[in-house]
Homo-oligomer: 353 residues x 2
Amino acid sequence: MKTWENYIRKVEPYVPGEQPKDTGVIKLNTNENPYPVSPEVIAAVKQFDTDRLRLYPDPEASVLVDAIAERYNLSSDQVFVGVGSDDVISMCFMTFFNSDLPVFFPDISYSFYEVWADVYRVKYEKKPVDSQFRINPSDYKGKNGGIIFPNPNAPTAIYMELDSVEDIIKSNQDSVVIVDEAYIDFGGQSAVKLIEKYDNLLVVQTYSKSRSMAGMRIGYAMGNERLIKALNDVKFSVNSYTMNATSLAYGAASMKDVDYFNETVNKIISTRTRSEERLRELGFTFPESKANFIFASHRSVPASVIFEELKKRKIYVRYFAKPRIDNYLRITVGTDEQMDKLFEALAEITGDR
Amino acid sequence: MKTWENYIRKVEPYVPGEQPKDTGVIKLNTNENPYPVSPEVIAAVKQFDTDRLRLYPDPEASVLVDAIAERYNLSSDQVFVGVGSDDVISMCFMTFFNSDLPVFFPDISYSFYEVWADVYRVKYEKKPVDSQFRINPSDYKGKNGGIIFPNPNAPTAIYMELDSVEDIIKSNQDSVVIVDEAYIDFGGQSAVKLIEKYDNLLVVQTYSKSRSMAGMRIGYAMGNERLIKALNDVKFSVNSYTMNATSLAYGAASMKDVDYFNETVNKIISTRTRSEERLRELGFTFPESKANFIFASHRSVPASVIFEELKKRKIYVRYFAKPRIDNYLRITVGTDEQMDKLFEALAEITGDR
């Protein structure tokens, strides 16, 4: 081993869901949106001025920040943008979680929280969710160096009512509380309206789910001006120009198309309702979903078996071989047609009808 | 002050060069390429399949990594890609610079090195360049936690011969040595050929200068497989999907168009030669440039005055109010027409002909 190898940062790299190159696959494994981007985005792609590629993009990402601010009735200094909500939350860990007290997050949750804590050497304490996978707000009341949780939670799809979210924020005014709302648009109520009331609140959202733009990598945080300034200061110390010219143009176009957004979100919600009914008939149980996925377990066939059998049939869902959740599948809500093919396969695999 | 504000990471944010929104400006301040992207890139923009926006991009960025590997006769596991060379180098600081010994870099150099060292709490020692701004390779021979320098150096444009670069790499086989080649294509010889010989060498390049793609934010590192694996492991712990779908498609297209690349680089070199002659006539001195910019000082008029006067005339160059270099301007080599306008203005400002 070479000397320089001793000084490599030790990490447990996160393993993202499979991105098969085979286009014949029914892809229900990474919670992408089955519907295309807004026609406004397609127009922005067609009209994109290639001459601007030779110039650095606006480091302040104004066109995108302004579009988000307008959509949520905020001022532009209350919005921070990044390369997907992963970049945004990673930047939050680096910016805000520097006390010696542990950061709190649920034990069953987005698995990246632990990865970021490790890479930035942040102490943390995982708070167990209850036997029905629910987050208990009273667990988030001891001394801590910060709090983060998704709402709805992933991979459980369980939504916490805004009153409970507020209770956590209110009880932790010495800490930054991050509500990770990647899935909020599928039926939940955003905490964004609490920003005026609590200066310790950051709400993080993404273009990857409800906006059908996982391919563009755009996420954003909304919060008090001081929080946003701190994030920007750290971001400018890492990389001044993170949002490329296409992200700025396409991201701004998407934010303006509210009608199309509502239409696709509603289609997914209605397919989800139908899917929940059908899954119940097929012998599955699951917590009520307010996300674009369902976290389901079958009464007799192990999740790992169903996962492999579906894969053989070119249907990809997500399986986590982890304590407490290793008998569950996380199934993205696709189109009605995709779900029908899934149900057919599940009927075959489980023998249920 | 709120308690949470005590735990915000303290940083001195980097101030990037101005990106004026006024399009009537002659922009010679951020070393962008005056020529448009390759026609291959324009074709890729036109043909871009908007349906892929809804899906996550390939986390391994294979299409882009493979195109770079092919261009430089490397294997794909010798190439790492990031959101501009800033992202790549920032990731290098985080991945490799974790010993207690100081990292070495020149005192007059890319000012981000210091910013990254601060944000990641890396110890460093700045090695003064000589009175003619040259890096002295023998300064880079003590015990250290890593080495980084640009070649050609910025903002001086001074190129170090490959023998001297090799001398530094060879003398530091216990450390990772990063050669930041943002400007290498404008007349220098890349250290990429030394990768097979030294497993401690990383060569970093960018799409922002010679490839006319600052707007896309693409940078890359080339080196030994173990270095690249370490970088990818850390990157996957921060953000699995940093390169969006457009970066992958447009970046790969650009790399394949060698003829257009050579053509624009040669045009810039020839404008540079002509500009050096004209600047000399106008009373400027400067080190010989092997970059797409010239680092020039006037015999009688202070740089700060020229900077402001040019700005009034809507010509932007870069001025650094820093010790040792505060009587210099960093002037990007634009088109012949842009340079003629610059010379006209300079004649007027300096009274030289």
